[in-house]
Subunit: 187 residues, 2 copies
Amino acid sequence: MSKLTETLNNFLDLDEKSLQAFLENGHILKISKSKKLIEEGEVSEFLFFIQKGSVRSYYFRDDKDITISFSLEGEFITSMSSFITQTPSYENIEAMEDCEMWCISHKSLMDLFEEYHDLERAYRLLLEQYYIRLEEHLIFSKFKNARERYEELIQYKPEIIQKASVGQIASFLDMSIETLSRIRASL
Amino acid sequence: MSKLTETLNNFLDLDEKSLQAFLENGHILKISKSKKLIEEGEVSEFLFFIQKGSVRSYYFRDDKDITISFSLEGEFITSMSSFITQTPSYENIEAMEDCEMWCISHKSLMDLFEEYHDLERAYRLLLEQYYIRLEEHLIFSKFKNARERYEELIQYKPEIIQKASVGQIASFLDMSIETLSRIRASL
DNA sequence: TTGATTTTTTGATATTTATCAAATGACAAT
DNA sequence: ATTGTCATTTGATAAATATCAAAAAATCAA
């Protein structure tokens, strides 16, 4: 069983036919390191599933590159607000290493939802999980200091420490490069 | 047309029968100022819609009361993570003034989803909107200083300034009471 | 390998905001 | 009006983190 069907089945036992239709409507996309999956200003047409590799989502603020999130193998990723509203994205998503993605277009997904109720439900459940995760991230990082935020990342996604640069990690953790460097030196 | 059906129709033109079933499965709840809608530790059984009034969601951290969100008339509210997972809530939700809520239980909602596909879709669309809002809140408050966060609140939900105490607003904006007081004095 | 370029670390200082303490103000009960 | 309580403001100081500058280390191209 592929990582994708495995992940989907974590949410819901999909009907054989729905799953089949879902898989048939998507396709594989290989993308090499540093290439962009989504670029600021364009509409996020696809929902991606990371079968292999990792990606980083970021935007520019005063010409500085600010990381919003890191995503790893087995996760869905897209510029959510753009994908949902089908309006231009304010974020970029790039491959942090050579990746193999599975992806499905917004249109295909919406069409599938018309026909397969359980797919829409799986998507709804996925959204719920992502919502909770975002809320927890927001609340629990609120009262953590720089060091605790770094320690949280180590707990939560240790792989990132190897895969991302200090600058990318620092902007994600909302601290300066220098502060992060000092925290690392003191551990 | 009630505020609730109006709000629902913003997302989707619901089938007459679905809407009827939805409304019939909920009920009205009047709750007076300072009373709790949801208490920490209990499972959030209901999804509420604020027909009249306003509520505040908060939790305790080191015995300090920390505001997570303020919600106004026309908004849905519950302890999302608790409602979704049906596990104990870490947050409290209290009425900031005498309120009239409409509410529907988790069980009723799930049962309705089995029968009325378009209700599940409306809920999915609602979730999407809330997800985007949370994401924007997270990203755009990240690089704002204390004063800008206060100004953002004034823009975004000016009513709150009247309805909430300085302490509640300060914890929501993630600053001390004193800092908020000084910001106000300097405007 | 070497030199150039970029990234990371280290040090000194500045800024923002928190904390603590005291003063003031608002309101309720007497 | 007076007292007590609680919320808010003001002032002084401390702590956390950013910023700026320079040194050291890593990476890369020729």
